[in-house]
Amino acid sequence: MDLTRRRFLQLSGVGALGAIVFNGCSIPETELEIQSPVLIPEDVVAGGESWYASLCRQCPSVEGVLVRVVEGRAKKVEGNPEYPLNLGKHSARCEAALQELYHPDRLQQPFRRDGATGQNKPITWDEGLNELVTRLKALRDAGQASRVLVITDPLRGHLGKVTQLFAAAYGAQHLAFEPMERVVLRQAIKDVYGQDRLPHFDIGNSAYVLSFGADFLGTWVSPVSHSVAYGEFRQGEGRGRGLLVQVEPRFSMTAASADRWLPVRPGTEGLLALALAREIIAEGLADPDAARALTDGRGIAALDAYGLERVADDTGLTTYFGKERAVQLIQEVAHDFATKRPSLALGGDTAAAHTNGLFNLRAIYALNYLVGSVGAKGGVIFNPPSPIDDVPDTASGAPLSRWQEVAERLQRGEFDVVITRGVNLVHGLPGALQFQEALKKADLIVSFASVPDDTTAIADLVLSEHVALEAWGDDIPDPAPGYQTVGFQQPVVRPLYDSRAFGDVLLAIAPEIGDDLGAALPWNTMQDVVKEGAQRLFALNRGWAKATAPFDAFWVRVLGGGGWWDTTAISAQKAPGASKAPAEPVRPSFAGDASSDAFYLLPFRSHALLEGRNAHLPWLQASPDPTTTGVWQTWVEINQKEAERLEIREGDLVELVSPAGAIEVIVYPTPAAAPDVLSVPMGQGHASYGRYAKKRGANPFQVIAPQKDETGALAWAATRVVIRKTEKRTRMIKLEGLVEARQMEESPVIQVTRGEEGS
């Protein structure tokens, strides 16, 4: 007994000792250092920092940034206060340029994929370029240069020029890809205003903004510059508060900020625009010339098809608001739009993404004529052409019709070599196109990439590319801010890995492929090209750095300032005036189930991930969606009452099924969704795109049917889907707590006023 007792106590003693030692060893090392327990290191910041001006390439608008560099490492990206587009501001997206630079899954050197084994073999640049050059040279020598296809993101500025010259001199096809191209928007702007370039929307000076579908505060065209202007619009210095009305079937971030949200049925935006036009003319509030032109001199009789009540029904407003109120709302919007001048109508995104997209946008943009807002302050301001004439200043992705054609030709084996750069075709084209299979028909897929994505995953030759912060470049913004602007992009850090810039590679291989190519591209590096562009700007002898000479001083100055701009160089182009409105509306058509069980599917660009290009960046994955506050996942927003009717709850996994395919998404019931609409954020569903994006969520392009507008552009909002329940559940991950956030009546944390008391 004695022994047992002692043994027992010994054992427990050893156990306790072990646990204590275990505790002791696990205190973090830094904890055991002697720290001053009262000092905050932030109080004694020291050390040098430098700020370099450059350009942000995290989204297509390309804005000016300043990058903070300490000891050779980029530490922070901020808006460049001088840059005319963003005036020192930026979005969540551009901060994450740092995470792209330092992404743990960045390509550190080129590699070759063995088609048989699927193994990636690291190679040197020389090996990689040798293979590419040999291949290109052989094809060209055999007269088969057109069997080479170069696909890039839409390129403006000198990189665009170099790429175009290369493709032209070689004889290859060059196509630009953008998942949600602006083909319809550009066509509408051309048709309505006779402009080749996108205009500047002068929101900052406007008193009334009427936006159709365009999520201009979130992702549409130039969100940061729009947001800066929006801040002004909401009681900026010396001005009253503007009113914003958002006509959009989805409750976007812009709808959330709008004073009034009109959830119209998808594809009926143009109808509503024409009803407004009719009402404005009927009230006698319209600009007489424009009214005459629009109605072909016949007065509102020409717009009979757009009668108030009829449109109220057709747009679905009657269903939501009741007939009387719907009519009243349309009248009120028409009245306000015509009287609270300067007013501005703009449209895009869902309004354009229908089979009748062009009809919608034409009708919307024509409204500006009625209120005299074309080419006027607070309205639509046209942009001048590029100050350097042979450099592309607009660029848009090719329409779906082109991609269908390319897919067919690929299938037929008409392309041997496909070079891709900055595009994720596999992820960003509707799944129904089977583009991945088509692409695999090519002999050699060469992919330039910094973080390998879905398209890189099927490439044979993967060439590690610089990220924007390591490369030279420039940009001629589209839309420009109303005057001529050129932005400069300089490397802010030394390249981290064995990577090269796309432009530099084209310039390097051109002379090796053929002397004529070398002659067409007589530069050594992109830096030379950009500098030559600056020289041409210097020669213009105008703009903000005008008096600076010699050129070297000018060069340093514009690089330091982030670019060149001339506020006096504005557009001289005149608008053609309003043209006759179509007598009969063009109605949208939808793919998929037409029954009442089906919902309109409205995919939307995530405010942070966009169509998916930023999905590899953890800050952006973790950036809450402005309306749902969802993160890291793909969800479907469904009207709360509909969800109740269907007996689905938040966190249920459901399948959305269209004729094109099905995706599995998480249910998020929301009070802010029309009952017949489902919206799904884009951005996720990557098979490969670094550790933060891989195998996460779903890609709505898999269910978008390849519907087209008359321009051939993808009508990505023209699909109807049905919900198929699964038995699975998960948790919808969001910033919002576990209770639907509504304010407590007696202690609202957000106080609201009607604003009569002024400012």
Partner: protein, 457 residues
């Protein structure tokens, strides 16, 4: 005529020291089991140190949870010791005799355990000593405005006071043990007994010391739990905690659970050590009467707390009441709490047969403490889940396996410590037992039989 058989001094000494001198086999079995659970708890704490508080179920806004619930619970239990010993000693209540030592021991160990909880809860528990003023040279002081400084000082004062209390009462018994042991153990008891010979002067001094300590400890007993309640009630950040009633409410709640805890322990000891002659029906009967009064008072405070929230209809309070009543799992917890802490046991204590039944008293007092644990849980967590009008951040909490393990281990720890104490010292004061030996349970006065346990001589 329920005259008890008379026990000799020797018999008393033998039975009451048998835990010390002859250890039942069961003791080892139970100690091994409890010790094993404690070890599991120690490993869990080790993992907390190793990996971080992330292992627990905490989140934002529920930053306090199981551990502090458990702290309040054990502090509550610890209140029985002083309650019984001090008040009853001062009131010269006879029925306290067998209960005092157990109650005091329970106090000390429950308190020590309670004191561990906030340490385990710290993000950097290896820095816990920073809340004490130790670094005079660099002039770094703790902030005396913080309840987190009051707490440890209150608890340690109470801990030191009640340890002294036990010790003073223990001295005569230590002398008995000194006389019955040999070797090294003998020397230890000799030292501890401090030359006790049982002279009249020594007995008198010992009695006076006990009374003085009782008087000194009473205010501490009230203040400790008041201070603990201020950890919660002084926070403007949590509206449902921010209420003036918390201090008395917590104190009376503590007495409720503490006295119940003592009864549980007494019944257990009686069963474990076979002390049928010392822990008798009339003892638990009297304790049960006390408990009945305390329970009513406690329930009154609970109702007040509940009503105050409803009365002024303030949203932040209403949402917590709503959570308690209408949302799973809180509504279930609420119902169990009300049933176990009040509705089931308290009416039962109206019956003499219940009060005098060891199994039934064991059962009802266990119920009370289940209920009282849940009460603290209900007071602490829902208030955090619905912290303030920022409904955007409202959250939920569920304990992780680590918290559950550690909480379980604290129960085992208290049991282990009591078992170990019982191995070293008698759990029933020999002297008290001898004094009481001559008394009867009931005396007959004329035709009436009255309780004989209310006063000494």
């Amino acid at each position: 005529m329920q005259d008890r058989r008379t026990l000799t001094d020797i018999q008393v000494n033998e039975t009451l020291t048998n835990t010390v001198l002859k250890t039942p086999l069961l003791w080892y079995v139970i100690l091994a089991f409890m010790g094993g659970i404690v070890m599991l708890g120690v490993v869990a704490v080790g993992l907390l140190v190793n990996m971080g508080q992330g292992l627990n179920g905490y989140n934002r806004p529920v930053m306090w949870a199981f551990f502090l619930t458990n702290m309040v619970f054990w502090i509550g239990i610890s209140h029985a010791g002083v309650m019984l010993s001090a008040i009853l000693r001062l009131a010269q209540a006879e029925f306290r005799r067998p209960a005092t030592r157990a109650a005091e021991v329970l106090t000390v160990f429950a308190l020590a355990t309670a004191g561990l909880m906030p340490i385990v809860h710290l993000g950097r528990l290896w820095r816990a000593y920073w809340i004490f003023p130790y670094d005079f040279s660099r002039g770094i002081w703790p902030d005396v405005r913080s309840q987190a400084v009051w707490d440890p000082h209150a608890i340690s004062t109470y801990l030191i006071g009640s340890s002294l209390f036990i010790f003073v009462a223990l001295i005569p018994d230590l002398a008995v043990l000194r006389d019955r042991t040999t070797g090294i153990v003998h020397s230890i008891y000799t030292m501890l007994a401090m030359g006790w010979r049982g002279t009249v002067r020594q007995w008198r001094l010992q009695a006076i010391a006990g009374i003085i300590l009782s008087a000194l400890l009473l205010p501490v007993f009230v203040s400790v739990h008041s201070i603990v309640s201020w950890d919660f009630s002084m926070l403007v950040g949590v509206p449902s905690w921010h209420t003036t009633i918390f201090a008395p409410y917590f104190v009376i709640g503590a007495v409720h659970s503490g006295v119940a805890g003592v009864i549980t322990v007494l019944v257990l000891m009686r069963w474990l050590f076979g002390w049928h002659d010392y822990i008798r029906r009339e003892h638990i009967d009297s304790l049960a009467r006390l408990l009945f009064v305390v329970a009513l008072a406690w329930f009154f405070f609970f109702m007040l707390e509940f009503m105050f929230g409803l009365y002024h209809q303030e949203g932040t309070e209403m949402v917590v009441r709503e959570l308690w009543l209408f949302h799973a799992p809180w509504n279930a917890i609420f119902v169990i709490f009300i049933l176990t802490a009040f509705v089931i046991p308290v009416p039962l204590w109206l019956f003499r047969s219940v009060r005098r039944s060891f199994p039934l008293m064991f059962f009802t007092t266990i119920l009370v403490n289940v209920g009282m644990w849940l009460e603290r849980f209900l007071l602490i967590i829902p208030g955090l889940e619905r912290k303030h009008p920022f409904t955007f951040s409202w959250g939920e909490y569920a304990p992780s396996i680590f918290e559950i393990t550690i909480i379980t281990a604290t129960f085992a720890l208290v049991a282990t410590m009591i078992l170990l104490f019982a191995r070293a010292f008698p759990l029933i004061p020999l002297g008290d037992a001898k004094e009481a030996r001559v008394l009867r349970d009931e005396i007959r006065i004329g035709r009436r039989t009255v309780q004989a346990v209310l006063r000494e001589e």
